[in-house]
Symmetry: C2
Subunit: 161 residues, 2 copies
Amino acid sequence: MNAPSSATTSPAPSVRDAAEAWESLFRAQVAVMRRLQADPAFRGLGIKEYDVLFTLSGCPESGLRLNELNDHVLLAQSSLSRLVERLERKGLVTRRAAPDDARGILITLTEAGRETQRRIGREHVREIARLFGGALDAEELAELKRLTAKLREHVVENHPL
Amino acid sequence: MNAPSSATTSPAPSVRDAAEAWESLFRAQVAVMRRLQADPAFRGLGIKEYDVLFTLSGCPESGLRLNELNDHVLLAQSSLSRLVERLERKGLVTRRAAPDDARGILITLTEAGRETQRRIGREHVREIARLFGGALDAEELAELKRLTAKLREHVVENHPL
DNA sequence: CCAGAGTACATGCATTTGCATCTACTTTGA
DNA sequence: TCAAAGTAGATGCAAATGCATGTACTCTGG
């Protein structure tokens, strides 16, 4: 006997189901990311640098801590530290001591940083739409978003680093 | 008037729908990948190196061309060239001239490479299942796989680099 | 209060990456 | 047929990355 099932309950996933879903998710990410990286919008600023600006743009008034930022980006702590240093040198962000924890650094967008993020963001979003156009309909996009959000949430919640 | 719709036709996605789905997909990938990279399975061999071995393990008898390999991996051509060079030095793959095109290099797993891939792969798959466990049920995993595969296919098909 | 453990970020250094370019081979078209 | 354009992969070099560790601060238990 295999895979017990009923009309209303989805069977527990096998190891294989998870591995295949991950493989597919990962390859899609590679294919899309490769094309996004090639976008002229990222001539002056790498996509990772943009990603940091973007994350800062949608977050608390006062900025983010380095370690919070690090959760969103696939970089070692030291690499992010230096990436932010570069952004500061370019005048796109500021670093100042966190008020409540003297070890912490609070990173904030400068006005120039905010403008740069918006400018690149507009082109970037257009490119995303161009790539996705015709691939999935609105309902499928919503479902993709829901599933990936659920996955991320679960992983973040239940599997600390 | 906005978004014309009927009972059976999903409305055309907005630019925003695509951007949000991508954002969610990407963040999920980051969260999962971060944890996979930390797996002890990748102490001796980086996850990118493993990925190359894995890709080779599931492909034509005779191996893959460097440029074919490059489609699966998020690396510049030159970086992959050197990554493969390292794998060769470790005795995990061999490089030989492609029979039909003297410019090309055919990369093949050695027996050691195949064993290494299997060994790491077993642990890796376990870790994937552990991370995904409880996040999505079998049906949702299948849907996630379907959507990401469709997205990748569309992008690869309609948006050459 | 304080010693020791823990956390946040920075830094030295070796490795990896990407860009630009090079060489060698192949394809195209006049 | 052959010159010009195109493609596959390698390589020099500067930049980015990660690991190990350092410094400075915070938290915890006695």
